[in-house]
């Protein structure tokens, strides 16, 4: 099982690597691109906090995604993950801010269709709603943050040099929170489809019991960290200089707003707290970090008076909501067919 399992897990690890290279770059893109934070500092902070978020907080969104369809055969999980990863890679080439979440959801639906497993439409619509709510909430967080920070800067006598210093520290702290939220929220995209099909036995580490799924998340987290260290620098430079052209302070607002949204959609504790008090709780599902970033940037543009709003980016997001899951579902369906009939692997039980 050893080598075969590793081969099947490779698509998940690739997904993790890709998440580390792309989504992690969104967290520190401007900070590194404008040289406010050194790449090595950023990479270390992201890796540590993504791992912490994934291992200790990733179960909520994994269960949320599992409610859509539990992929129960390892070759099936491989295909589902591969189809999602390939879709993201392919659509990124067109400059669309695509989401790994939307791709993995489409892939799972493709698996459901292929295996005859019914897709719970209420779960699907709840997840789809978060795709709209994610960027919207990020924009709603960014507007007051922007207005408060602008007021503080304009109405207090903090020296430019100190603002620069505080901004650097704030960028690192917000980046750590962003990385933690990313790990917590998006590890489901990386390892979620393997939790049922690839049962790992738990083990004791320094006398602490680590359940099997957390070991899987740890592996996914390491793949994300590998993506950060090997490929994210180039993406960070692109994000920092070409894509948004944010100032360090607005970058801080974007990171914090996006991290808050990812955290809200992944926090089991907050979810339980709201449910216990009879308040409406946000579903625990993975949401798109890159689209959250775009939402926050648009929020800031609105707070500035609505000038320079990039309609093309908005349109691309909306296109992505439909195109990404559809493409991933079709690809997943086709690849499952080949896996079953050409490679003679059982893709569902």
């Amino acid at each position: 099982m050893g080598l075969e399992a590793l081969i099947f897990l490779s698509s998940g690890l690739f997904m993790g690597w890709s998440l580390g290279a792309n989504d992690a770059a969104n967290i520190f893109g401007t900070a590194v691109g404008t040289r406010m934070v050194r790449f090595r500092t950023a990479a270390c902070v992201i890796s540590i906090f993504v791992l912490l978020g994934a291992v200790f907080g990733g179960i909520g969104t994994t269960e949320g995604l599992g409610a859509l369809g539990t992929v129960n055969a390892l070759p099936g999980s491989f295909v589902v993950s591969f189809a999602a990863g390939f879709t993201v890679m392919w659509m990124t080439r067109f400059g669309l801010p695509v989401s790994t979440t939307q791709a993995i959801v489409g892939s799972i639906v493709g698996w459901n269709l292929y295996s005859g497993n019914p897709t719970d439409m209420s779960v699907l619509s709840r997840i789809a709603l978060t795709w709209v709510a994610g960027p919207l909430l990020a924009a709603l967080c960014a507007v007051p943050l922007y207005l408060i920070i602008r007021r503080v800067i304009e109405h207090t006598s903090i020296h430019l040099i100190w603002i620069d210093r505080y901004t650097r520290i704030a960028l690192v702290v917000a980046g750590a929170f962003g990385a933690y939220s990313l790990g917590k929220n998006n590890i489901a995209n990386v390892m979620g489809v393997f939790v049922s099909s690839f049962p790992v036995e738990g083990t004791y580490l320094f006398g602490i019991w680590i359940p099997g799924f957390q070991l899987l998340f740890l592996l996914g987290g390491i793949a994300i960290a590998a993506g950060v260290f090997t490929f994210s620098k180039r993406v960070m430079m692109t994000v920092g200089k070409e894509l948004f052209e944010l100032s360090p302070i607005t970058a801080f607002i974007v990171i914090l707003s996006t991290a808050l949204v990812l955290f809200l959609f992944a926090s089991q504790g907050l979810h339980d707290w709201l449910v216990q008090r009879g308040l409406p709780a946000l579903p625990l599902v993975p949401v798109s970090q890159s689209q959250g970033c775009v939402g926050a940037v648009l929020g800031i543009s609105l707070a500035k008076g609505g000038r320079n709003i990039n309609i093309r980016l908005l349109r691309n997001i909306v296109v992505g909501w439909a195109a990404t899951p559809a493409a991933a579902a079709v690809l997943s369906f086709i690849l499952l067919f080949f896996m079953e009939h050409i490679f003679l692997q059982q893709v569902y039980y």
Binding site: T34, R35, M36, V37, R38, T41, Y146, I149, R150, I153, E154, H155, S157, I158, H159, L160, I161, W162, D164, R165, R168, I169, V172, S247, P248, I249, T250
Partner: protein, 216 residues
């Protein structure tokens, strides 16, 4: 870790020190002119030395500021503007020093009829430079006040312009100064004194653009 080393305080101290030198040089220039016009040549020469010394120290600090801005990656989004601003302010100190050196070398005789106006022109130019320093300080820590301070620079520059024209008219129409060469020498010095306010105004106008760029 580089992030937690306090390079910021070092840079802050250097910028504040540098701005102090700019204001100081304008004030010394003003006082030196008073001494010159009152015929206190010993005191005038002493002040020339002080301004030259201020200029030398300001140059050293300016080099440190430029190095710190780029070597330690401080204020990356505004450093190009700060760099240019600091560089431009050097012209104010240079002009104050050069004017006094020229005066010390040529020692023109200032006729009684324009002494009062030359004094007022010197004060207007010096005030323009000092208002500029205030505007620059505001740029760093109180953006809201920049515009008000820039308005003052522009006001003093206009005042200096008016006095410059008035002195030139007086020089060229006065019977007290018969030689054209002396008239031209006096015109040269009048323009040099007024130049300080012109330089201040140019920097102040650029400062307004830097301020708009600083807004988040």
């Amino acid at each position: 870790m580089e992030l937690f080393k306090n390079r910021s305080r070092e840079l802050l101290n250097h910028i504040n020190g540098y701005l102090g030198y700019v204001a100081e040089s304008a004030l010394h220039m003003e006082e030196a002119m008073v001494d010159y016009l009152q015929g206190h040549m010993e005191e005038f020469e002493r002040r020339c030395g002080v301004v030259a010394d201020t200029e030398r120290r300001a140059d050293e600090v300016l080099r440190a500021v430029k190095y710190e801005l780029y070597a330690f990656m401080l204020i990356p989004d505004t450093r190009a503007d700060v760099y240019r601003l600091m560089d431009d302010l050097d012209d104010v100190i240079d002009e104050a020093k050069d004017l006094l050196v020229e005066l010390s070398i040529e020692q023109p005789e200032i006729p009684q009829c324009i002494i009062e106006d030359v004094l007022r022109l010197t004060q207007a130019s010096s005030k323009a430079a000092q208002a500029l320093v205030k505007a620059v300080r505001a740029f760093f820590s109180q953006m809201k006040s920049v515009e008000g301070e820039v308005d003052k620079v522009i006001f003093y520059e206009k005042e200096a312009d008016r006095l410059e024209v008035s002195i030139k008219r007086c020089v060229f129409s006065s019977q007290e100064i018969p030689d054209l060469s002396r008239k031209m020498q006096l015109r040269f010095f009048t323009e040099r004194i007024a130049l300080l306010s012109d330089i201040s105004e140019d920097i102040a106008k650029n400062l307004l653009i830097y301020t708009v760029k600083r807004k988040i």
